[in-house]
C-alpha cells in the first residue's frame, strides 16, 4: 500500500516526539542535569519513525545502536523510563545502568547495546536464527564496517532469516567521513551476499516505496543516508547548515504536532527531575 497523507502524518508524529526529546535532552545536558555521555539522534529520526509505522502490525524484536533514542521512542519505548535512564535512576529503562547508549524496552522487545561497536549485529542475527521472529537491527555506518557485522549479513543470507539490517548512514564516525574510511557501500556488499538491499535517503516516501514490496520473511539491508544534527556525544552542533528533513515536515503538517510532542517531553522531564 503506498504511503498516504494520513500515514505520513503518523510518521511525522513519531519523528516530532523524537526531535522534541532530543532537543530537550540537549538542554538538560547543557544545564548539567544529565552528567553522562549522551548520543543524540536528532536529524536521523525519520528512518525509525517510518519503519516503526510500516511494521506497526508485526510482532518483532529490535536491536538498536548506541545512538538509539529515536529508535526506542519510534517503536513505542516509554518516555519517562528513558528520562530516568539518562538521569541514572533505577526506574530507568535499563535500571539506571545503561545510560544513553544501552537503552532497552522489554515491553516493546527492544534489546540493549553492550557498547562494543556493532556487536549487536551478530547477536540480532543469532536471535533471529533462534526464534525466526522478524528482527530489526539498527547500526551506524561505522559499526556496520565491523568484520563481524558484515559476516552476519552473510550468515543471515545463508540461513534465509527474516532480519532487516538498517544502516543509519550519517557519513560520520565521530567526525571522520566515510570516504576516508572506505570506498564501498553496505548495500553493494549485501547484494553480493544475495540479500535484498537498497541505498536510499531517509525520505519517508522513498523509504516506504523501497520496502513495501519486500518479502518480510527474507533478509533485507537498508543503507539509509541521513544526517546527524548534533555532536557525536554531548550537546553541541558541528555544522548549522546540515540538512534537516524535519523542517520540510513542519512546513507540510504545521506546528500543532510539534507542540503536542514538546508538551509530552517537557512533562516527562519535569516529573522525573522532581522525583
Amino acid at each position: 500500500m503506498p504511503l498516504n497523507n494520513e500515514t505520513e502524518l503518523k510518521i511525522f508524529r513519531k519523528a516530532a516526539l523524537c526531535r522534541a526529546f532530543e532537543e530537550e535532552t540537549f538542554r538538560q545536558v547543557q544545564s548539567k542535569n544529565v552528567k553522562i555521555p549522551v548520543y543524540l539522534s536528532a536529524g536521523q529520526e525519520y528512518t525509525s519513525a517510518t519503519l516503526a509505522t510500516f511494521l506497526e502490525q508485526y510482532n518483532k524484536q529490535i536491536f538498536i545502536q548506541h545512538r538509539g533514542h529515536s529508535t526506542y521512542l519510534s517503536f513505542g519505548g516509554n518516555v519517562e523510563a528513558l528520562v530516568y535512564e539518562l538521569l541514572g535512576d533505577k526506574r530507568g529503562c535499563a535500571n539506571g545502568m545503561g545510560g544513553s547508549a544501552s537503552i532497552q524496552s522489554k515491553e516493546k522487545q527492544i534489546y540493549g547495546h553492550d557498547g562494543l561497536m556493532g556487536s549487536h549485529v551478530p547477536i540480532a542475527t543469532g536471535m533471529c536464527y533462534g526464534n525466526k521472529k522478524l528482527t530489526l537491527c539498527f547500526t551506524g555506518d561505522a559499526a556496520a564496517e565491523e568484520d563481524y557485522s558484515i559476516t552476519s549479513i552473510g550468515w543471515a543470507s545463508t540461513k534465509n532469516l527474516p532480519i532487516w539490517y538498517i544502516v543509519e548512514d550519517n557519513n560520520l564516525s565521530i567526525l571522520t567521513k566515510k570516504k576516508v574510511r572506505r570506498n564501498w557501500e553496505l548495500d553493494s556488499v549485501a547484494k553480493a551476499m544475495n540479500v535484498n538491499a537498497f541505498g536510499i535517503n531517509d525520505d519517508p516516501v522513498e523509504l516506504w516505496n523501497s520496502i513495501e514490496n519486500h518479502d518480510i520473511t527474507k533478509p533485507l539491508l537498508l543503507n539509509v543516508y541521513t544526517n546527524r544534527l548534533f555532536w557525536h556525544a554531548g550537546a553541541g552542533i558541528d555544522d548549522v547548515n546540515t540538512f534537516d528533513r524535519h523542517k520540510i515536515y513542519i512546513e507540510k503538517f504545521g506546528k500543532e504536532v510539534l507542540n503536542e510532542a514538546e508538551h509530552i517531553v517537557k512533562e516527562a522531564w519535569s516529573k522525573c527531575l522532581s522525583r
Partner: protein, 300 residues
C-alpha cells in the same frame, strides 16, 4: 563396561537437542570426528548448527540464540580460539542479566588439548573469561561431574564456561580427593593436571610422603571448602596446578585458598613463554615427574 566422559558428553548433547529444544553451535561440528566423538550424529534440523568460519560473529550468533531461549552449547574446538569467540559472550551474554534484567543462559563448551599444536590451539585458556563478571567457570573431568554440571546449567540462567580437555574424554573413573589426617602438602589441581596430580601423590606415597589432592572443579565462583582450608592449615604447603598460564587463575585461587592461613603457596602451570610445534619447544602442563620434583623441592 563403564561409561566414558566422552559418551557422557555425547548423551548430554543428544538430550539437550532432542528433549530440551536446545542448540549446539560451532564450526565443523558434523565433519569427521564429530569434535572428538562428543557429538551425536544429528544435523541442523535437530539443532546441530554449523556456523560460518567467522569466529567473532559466531560467538555473537550463539549469544543471540541464548537470548531467544535456546540455551546453546557453543562448541569451541580449541580454547585459544576464544581470543576471537569470546567478546560478545563476556560483554553481552554475561552482563545482560545484570544490566537489563534479561538472562542470556548459554554454555561454552571450550575444549583443550596439547602436544604439537602450537602457540594458539594448545592448552586451556579459561583465564580469558575469569576476570569478567557474570560468567561461571567449571572444569569437569569425570562422567559424574559433567552430568551434574549440565543439571546445574539447566537449573540456572547463567553463562557457563565449561573448560573441557580432550585428554579426559576417555576417562571412566571419578576422582575423589586424596586426604590425610596431617598431610605434608596439598595439591589443588585443575583440568587435566588432576590426573598427573593423582599419579604424583600415589607415587610419592610409596616413598613415605603424604600428598593430599583436593580437586578443583568449580573455578568461578570459587569457594574453598572447609576441608580444603583445614588440609592447608595442617600441611602449611600447597600447590595450585593449572593447564593455563600461572599468571591468572592459579595465583588467584592460591590467594583465595590461603587467605588468613600462614601457608607456603606455590603454582604450577604453563611456562611463561609461547609454545612451538616440536616437543623441544612445546609448552605443556605440569607432568607427574615435574610435580614430584616440585614437591620434593618444597619439602626438602
Amino acid at each position: 563396561m563403564s561409561i566414558t566422559l566422552r559418551d557422557t558428553i555425547k548423551d548430554t548433547v543428544k538430550h539437550h537437542l532432542t528433549k530440551e529444544n536446545g542448540l549446539a553451535m560451532g564450526q565443523c561440528l558434523t565433519a569427521v570426528g564429530w569434535v572428538g566423538g562428543t557429538l551425536p550424529e544429528l544435523y541442523e534440523e535437530d539443532g546441530m548448527v554449523e556456523l560460518s568460519m567467522a569466529d567473532v560473529a559466531g560467538g555473537g550468533f550463539a549469544v543471540g540464540a541464548a537470548l531467544a531461549g535456546r540455551r546453546p552449547m557453543y562448541v569451541i574446538r580449541y580454547q585459544g580460539f576464544n581470543w576471537f569467540n569470546a567478546p560478545m559472550i563476556i560483554n553481552y551474554a554475561a552482563k545482560s542479566k545484570e544490566i537489563w534484567g534479561v538472562p542470556c543462559p548459554m554454555m561454552v563448551r571450550s575444549i583443550a588439548m596439547e602436544g604439537g599444536i602450537g602457540p594458539v590451539a594448545g592448552s586451556s585458556h579459561h583465564a580469558l573469561y575469569y576476570r569478567m563478571p557474570g560468567v561461571k567457570i567449571v572444569s569437569p573431568m569425570t562422567p559424574y561431574e559433567y552430568a551434574n554440571m549440565y543439571l546445574e546449567f539447566m537449573d540456572s540462567d547463567d553463562v557457563l564456561y565449561v573448560s573441557e580437555h580432550r585428554g579426559a574424554y576417555g576417562n571412566t573413573e571419578e576422582l575423589p580427593n586424596i586426604e590425610y589426617n596431617i598431610p605434608d602438602i596439598v595439591l589443588f589441581p585443575i583440568s587435566i593436571t588432576r590426573f598427573a596430580a593423582v599419579e604424583a601423590a600415589k607415587e610419592l606415597e610409596k616413598e613415605g610422603y603424604r600428598v593430599a589432592v583436593h580437586h578443583i572443579v568449580n573455578i568461578k565462583p570459587f569457594q574453598p571448602s572447609e576441608s580444603d582450608r583445614n588440609a592447608l592449615l595442617k600441611a602449611r604447603h600447597g600447590i595450585v596446578l593449572d593447564d593455563d598460564y600461572v599468571d591468572g587463575i592459579a595465583k588467584s585461587l592460591a590467594f583465595d585458598l590461603s587467605k588468613g592461613i600462614n601457608a607456603d603457596m606455590h603454582v604450577m602451570g604453563l611456562k611463561d613463554r609461547s609454545a612451538g610445534f616440536y616437543p623441544q619447544v612445546d609448552n605443556l602442563p605440569p607432568s607427574k615427574d615435574e610435580i614430584i620434583a616440585k614437591i620434593k623441592e618444597i619439602l626438602k
